[in-house]
Symmetry: C2
Subunit: 121 residues, 2 copies
């Protein structure tokens, strides 16, 4: 699969895909005789996972660490699990914060709708 196809499949740019490869999140992707990338099934799975985690706000740095541990092999399994658990905690916290903000936003919109607005901002 070419970079263009991958980019379209996951709705991201070629640049981002090359960037992920450069920082070591994906690949190194195999290249054909003329130097053109040919993404493997495994590459695609990694990209999907990374895209999903990025959309949740997990940083490149953390993902890179995870990938590196993975590439070190079996011996890092527990450490990887802990890393994911930490991110889970952070993510749950973030969702909680955002849900609270959402509630405040909804309340404020309600004030607008019922014309009860006599507030600051």
């Amino acid at each position: 699969m070419t970079i263009k196809e991958v980019a379209e499949k996951f709705d991201m740019t070629n640049d981002t895909l090359r960037y992920y490869e450069k920082v070591g999140l994906v690949g190194p992707v195999k290249k054909n005789s003329s130097g053109i990338r040919d993404y493997s099934e495994e590459d695609l799975k990694r990209i999907e996972f990374i895209k999903c985690m990025r959309s949740a706000g997990i940083s490149i740095e953390v993902l890179k660490k995870y990938v590196d541990l993975y590439d070190e092999g079996e011996s890092t399994k527990l450490e990887r699990q802990h890393l994911l658990e930490e991110e889970q905690d952070k993510l749950e916290e973030k969702i909680k914060t955002m849900t609270e903000a959402l509630d405040k936003l909804k309340y404020k919109i309600e004030l607008y709708k019922t014309n009860k607005l006599d507030e600051y901002l």
Copy 2:
């Protein structure tokens, strides 16, 4: 209330408070005879609201627009409401995305815990 007290109250830095003022999100804050900021109750309410919205990922740009509309007065009420409704939609979407990522993360952690890991990454 001094900038230091406000920063402590909301767990942010003096720099961030001055930055918010510079870009027009807050204030202009009243200053005493020696040029030192003295935050009013209304300033504090704005800061709280802005901090909450920022923690949900709403951009400075959007918040600035909202604040500007507010300062324009009554006539912008409907526009402000719409702006908030748009942000509500975005926020709900973001929470949904993050919740999906969280589910995947949990699933992956489960695989680690049950030693069923034979996956990519």
